[in-house]
Amino acid sequence: IVERKVHIVYLGEKQHDDPEFVTESHHQMLWSLLGSKEDAHESLVYSYRHGFSGFAAKLTKSQAKKIADVPEVVHVIPDSFYKLK
């Protein structure tokens, strides 16, 4: 079993004003990576669609590397944790 971790896939400024459309584009991107609509739906943690475009998804290391190479992707970072200060 290959471990899946939450990764943030950052796509920069959103290309559409309609948030539904933005989220749909995130599903599509994950669908093409993972091969099935169900897997894409299950993997998606968040769709960032108001202030900018991006999503958080549970991905293996190799999936994260693969999606980082997609031209629309600015960067992919593993989820990290912050503390109260």
Partner: protein, 666 residues
């Protein structure tokens, strides 16, 4: 907050101040990303607060022990984000966890910081009689929207916040219409990633700032070591923590009648004259003795029972005091005096056990008394609140320091605000709360103080960009305390504070309202920054949503229009540019006053800036050269533009690197 705002000059009694001119920020919405909110707290009362601002599109989400009806005209937003946390903590049992799966606060931190930024007036509050006064936020009529992203992990007894959740909260906040985002969270140093944009808060903040939302973040609690400041992106307002002019003096009377004023939050009864001991081997015993606070448990009970114990620790942290108090109490002791480095984290000890901190100098006085007296005794009185002079302002030991470890030319922190022993609301089940109010310390507490000020400035100047607001705060900050006394930076040894301790200085809200000129920044400037920081053009184009070509040669990062000049690697000489925008009277003439850092020549051209109805923005050049022949540390100076009404001051920090990229240890 019973002292913060009067100390910073924002007294409600003055009818013509920023507070009253802005109706206490009634039209501003402060988004707080934190541990949630305790909605029953009186600080969220909406007495006298008008309708919700029309730009608000958010709402309140129901969940465990939280209904949307808990919201009102003060607390206008409450949402929670847990999916990132759950995905990374599969052992988390949301049914059994102590935390509330809702916007409700378990920790108390979110409620506390919300109070500081925008809590309503609640009179006659204290911590068991200490710090008594009226609790209130900086913008006490501003609206609060809580975005809960931090969750208590029962297994590990920690509270943790996933960047995936934080980003979602920021995304929602941008949609909801907040004016300020207050984020008292941070990562550890060294910072994640090779470049600053690859960080959750930084990424979200970039887009928020482009939408006109000021993002205020904690600089971190890893001081006093250099290069520990976090949240250092140039579009974020990064906050350091100072003390107030308030302390909790606790009289310690020795048997020789000498009275020493220690610091504590001791609210129990007076400890009458009692035997005083410093655990050390009298020279004729085989038993173990230790006078080190963390090692008091090695002493036999007989050494400490029925006595007040003196111990020493090199640590400034409150954990040493807690550990000492625990050991002495367990052994049947009656109190403990901890000689330590000032850490500015005075806390009550459990069960109101008398535990008083003194510095090493006073600790040594007590030790000499013990050694010279046949029967040393001591009396400890209840702590009392001391306000105003002679209590000076210090940058707290814990407050993270610059330089910025990612981009040394970007001065961080930006600004300082009180963040030590701040009394504000919490949950009613938090340890050490008194009727729902608690003292907390950290850059967490300084951050919402700045957010509150930003909310007021935003109410006064709705069209100002986040960079303009930041500039107004930084260029008008106090370099002294509000009474004109120097601010010291705590550490070992204590020293005069410099820009790496407190950025521009201590926030001066009244002056920030009318800065005269501002160092503004827009999208083009951020693009130039990213070009100079080495981002490739396609990434920048995607980030900003339009085609971008970096100039060739790239502009220097030194030209980024910050309200500070920091040159980390001067070899011969350098010339940089700044641009000022007039936000004061249309027809203004400003003249420059330079205080060059020692051993540097600073030349400004032109020396006079003339603004009128046609000329709102004017650039000037600064040439800096040095006579130093070695790799130096940082020297500090300043550059002020003055029209005799406004003084627009920035710090100039310069270090020579005659030998570049050289690790200076010999």
């Amino acid at each position: 907050t019973t002292r913060t705002w009067d100390y910073l000059g924002l007294s409600a009694a003055n009818p013509k101040n920023l507070l009253n001119e802005t109706n206490m920020g009634a039209q501003s919405i402060i988004g707080v990303i934190d541990t949630g909110v305790w909605p029953e707290s009186e600080v969220f009362n909406d007495h006298g607060i008008g309708p919700v601002p029309s730009h608000w599109k958010g709402g309140c989400e129901s969940g465990e022990a939280f209904n949307s009806s808990h919201c009102n005209k003060k607390l206008i937003g409450a949402k929670y984000f847990i999916n990132g946390f759950l995905s990374e903590n599969e052992s988390f049992n949301s049914t059994e966890s102590l935390d509330f799966i809702s916007p409700r606060d378990l920790d108390g931190h979110g409620t506390h910081v919300s109070t500081i930024a925008g809590g309503s007036y609640v009179p006659n509050i204290s911590y068991k009689g200490l710090a008594e006064g009226t609790v209130r936020g900086g913008a006490s009529r501003a609206r609060i929207a809580m975005y809960k992203v931090c969750w208590y992990l029962d297994d590990e007894d920690i509270t943790s916040c996933s960047s995936a959740d934080i980003l979602k909260a920021m995304d929602e906040a941008m949609h909801d219409g907040v004016d300020v985002l207050s984020i008292s969270l941070g990562s550890d140093v060294p910072m994640y990633g090779e470049t600053d944009i690859r960080d959750g808060i930084t990424t979200g903040a970039f887009h928020a700032v482009l939408k006109g939302i000021t993002v205020v973040c904690a600089g971190g609690n890893s001081g006093p070591e250099a290069q520990t400041v976090t949240n250092t992106a140039p579009w974020i307002v990064t906050v350091a923590a100072t003390t107030l002019d308030r302390s909790f003096a606790t009289p310690i009377t020795l048997g020789n009648n000498k009275v020493i004023l220690g610091q504590a939050m001791y609210t129990g009864p007076e400890v009458g004259f009692t035997s005083l001991v410093y655990p050390e081997n009298p020279g004729n015993s085989n038993a173990n003795f230790s006078g080190t606070c963390e090692e008091l448990s090695v002493n036999s009970n007989l050494t400490m029972v029925g006595k007040v114990v003196l111990c020493f620790t090199p640590s400034p942290y409150s954990a040493s005091a807690s550990s000492a108090a625990r050991s002495v109490k367990k052994a049947g002791g009656l109190g403990v005096i901890i000689a330590r480095q000032p850490g500015y984290a005075i806390r009550p000890c459990p069960d109101d056990f008398p535990c008083v901190a003194v510095d090493w100098e006073l600790g040594t006085d007590i030790l000499l008394y013990i050694r010279s007296s046949g029967l040393p005794v001591v009396k400890i009185k209840t702590s009392r609140t001391l306000i105003g002079q002679p209590v000076g302002t210090k940058v707290a030991t814990f407050s993270s320091r610059g330089p910025n470890s990612i981009a040394a030319a970007i001065l961080k922190p930006d600004i300082a605000a009180p963040g030590v022993s701040i009394l504000a609301a919490t949950t009613t089940n938090t340890t050490f709360n008194d009727q729902g109010f608690i003292m907390m310390s950290g850059t967490s507490m300084a951050t919402p103080a700045i957010s509150g000020v930003v909310a007021l400035l935003k109410a006064l100047h709705r069209d100002w960009s986040p960079a303009a607001i930041r500039s107004a705060i930084v260029t008008t900050a106090w370099r002294t305390d509000p009474f004109g006394e120097q601010i010291f930076a705590e550490g070992s040894p204590r020293k005069l504070a410099d820009p790496f301790d407190y950025g521009g200085g201590l926030v001066n809200p009244e002056k920030a309202a009318k800065p005269g000129l501002v160092y503004d920044l827009g999208l083009e400037d951020y693009v130039l920054y990213m070009c100079s920081a080495g981002y490739n053009e396609s990434s920048i184009s995607q980030l900003v949503g339009k085609a971008t070509i970096c100039s060739n040669p790239k502009l220097s990062i030194l030209d980024f229009n910050l309200p500070s000049i920091t040159i980390p690697n001067l070899k011969d000489e350098v010339t940089l540019t700044r641009t000022l925008t007039n936000v004061g009277p249309l027809d203004s003439v400003y003249r420059v006053v330079v205080e060059p850092p020692l051993g540097f020549q600073v030349t400004v051209e032109p020396k006079t800036l003339v603004f009128n109805s046609q000329t709102k923005r004017v650039s000037f050049k600064v040439r800096i050269s040095t006579t130093h022949k070695i790799n130096t540390g940082y020297y500090f100076g300043s550059l002020t533009w003055s029209d005799s009404v406004h003084n627009v001051t920035i710090h100039v920090s310069v270090r020579t690197q005659i030998l570049q990229n050289y690790y200076d240890e010999n």
